[in-house]
Symmetry: C2
Subunit: 269 residues, 2 copies
């Protein structure tokens, strides 16, 4: 059997840890962890039987794949530094970012791509990779196949996604994850300042999401905006006067729901 690709991970944060653990669990050899933070690098490295370094100049040149799992705005700078080490330059470099085009690597390396796990990771939670889509891309067919092989090893859901499509996926992800979470926060705020518990809303939230498995979101839209119930909308806006930002969001989101309703009626007539 062919040996599994040996991997080096640049980064020791959330994504680096979850991905590193999963790769290790699936039998990949993680040669080395790089992080500027020694303790973080050491901790992750010791868990997955890897070496670690805090010095970019000491990055091992024996790996088949180098995964950047660092903040988006650091990818370019770190790539530039690494590319100055000639023995590394010809290797395959990928990043795990949803928002960053793969061509961030173009000026530094001849072989590059993306290995983007589409999930929100927390240090304190176990990531279920069986459910995590991995979006991969590379600038040549052979590397694409290599990445595909690795992705298929750690998740049943591996997809080839171009830079362009990944950018759109990321915009959509911001709406359904980051913005949704912010709405949960607003709900929490409204209740907590009245001494009510957010627990009361959890069954509603869970059902809203569970329904997605059976219906499209547009078909299960309910509420005052959808019904055109101006009395309730006005009452809610009045209540939200003490939270001008939330009030504005309420108005904008209601307006957007009503636009969709108008659109549906038009396309039906």
């Amino acid at each position: 059997m062919k040996q599994k690709p040996r991997i080096i991970i640049i980064g020791a944060g959330n994504v680096a840890s979850h991905l590193g653990n999963r790769l290790f669990e699936k039998g990949f050899q993680i040669l080395q962890i790089f992080s500027r933070g020694k303790e973080k690098a050491k901790r992750l490295a010791s868990k997955i039987n890897a070496d670690f370094t805090t010095d970019l100049n000491e990055i091992n040149d024996k790996a088949d794949l180098y995964i950047f799992a660092i903040p988006d705005d650091r990818i370019g700078a770190v790539a530039m530094q690494i590319s100055q080490k000639t023995s590394l330059k010809q290797h395959l470099f990928v990043h795990t970012s949803g928002a960053t085009p793969s061509i961030v690597f173009q000026s530094y390396f001849p072989r590059f791509g993306v290995f983007y796990p589409l999930q929100t990771f927390s240090i304190s939670r176990i990531a279920n990779f069986e459910e995590i889509p991995i979006c991969i891309d590379a600038n040549n067919e052979k590397d694409l196949e290599l990445l595909e092989g690795i992705a298929a090893n750690i998740s049943p859901k591996a997809f080839r996604i171009s830079d362009e499509d990944r950018a759109k996926l990321h915009v959509a992800a911001v709406f359904v994850n980051n913005f949704t979470n912010h709405l949960f926060h607003i709900g929490t705020q409204i209740l907590e300042e009245e001494g009510l518990s957010f627990e009361m809303l959890k069954p509603l939230i869970k059902e809203t999401v569970a329904k997605l498995d059976h219906q499209k979101a547009i078909e299960m839209q309910t509420g005052p905006a959808k019904r055109g119930d101006q009395t309730t909308i006005s009452r809610h806006l009045e209540y939200l006067q003490k939270h001008p930002v939330y009030q504005d969001l309420y108005q904008k989101l209601s307006q957007s729901i009503q636009n969709e309703e108008l659109g549906k009626k038009k396309s039906a007539s």
Copy 2:
């Protein structure tokens, strides 16, 4: 053992059906269903061993509780009509609306209240009442106890909630259910017009919600707005130019997330 309260349900839609079925399942006698739509009334009545009528003047006066499960804007008018029948006037009337104050009944009946199941119901889905909070209220202690007894029979989560608190709960519910669902729709739209599948985002959505059981929403906020990543935000806004309404929402929601971050920093300093 004391006989369980006998109930009449005004309405035969989503809430009426789910609530009627649950009450019947728990051994309550549903005397009658009223709905203007004969087929709907008949269908629900036959399932829960009740009579039905399409005529408000024929509403039975032998029940202990009359539950209005009709659109918010019809509650007042139907209450007025019913109150003209003297034999009904002294009974207990409640509605199932999150948005409507109980005092909508005040001019018509001496005994009134609310029986509000905090959930989003669909005809096609089984409602899990074990998980549904029931918010009750009444204008006198005896009726409050009666409603509490009924609520406790159909759900382990029965709460006394005043009109004022229920209004706030409802505003919060609009944010976490109606608006969240709309964000899911926006995500769907963005992906579908690019030929990408919404399925890819479902694990992310499920994890966002699963995390709520362990962390407060504010603590698990991630994304470009939270990081202050202007490069990504600008790229996303540019992409959203073809959807001005979504673009505006993106901007407003990002701004609101950044406000919270500022607030956190201020309160920490």
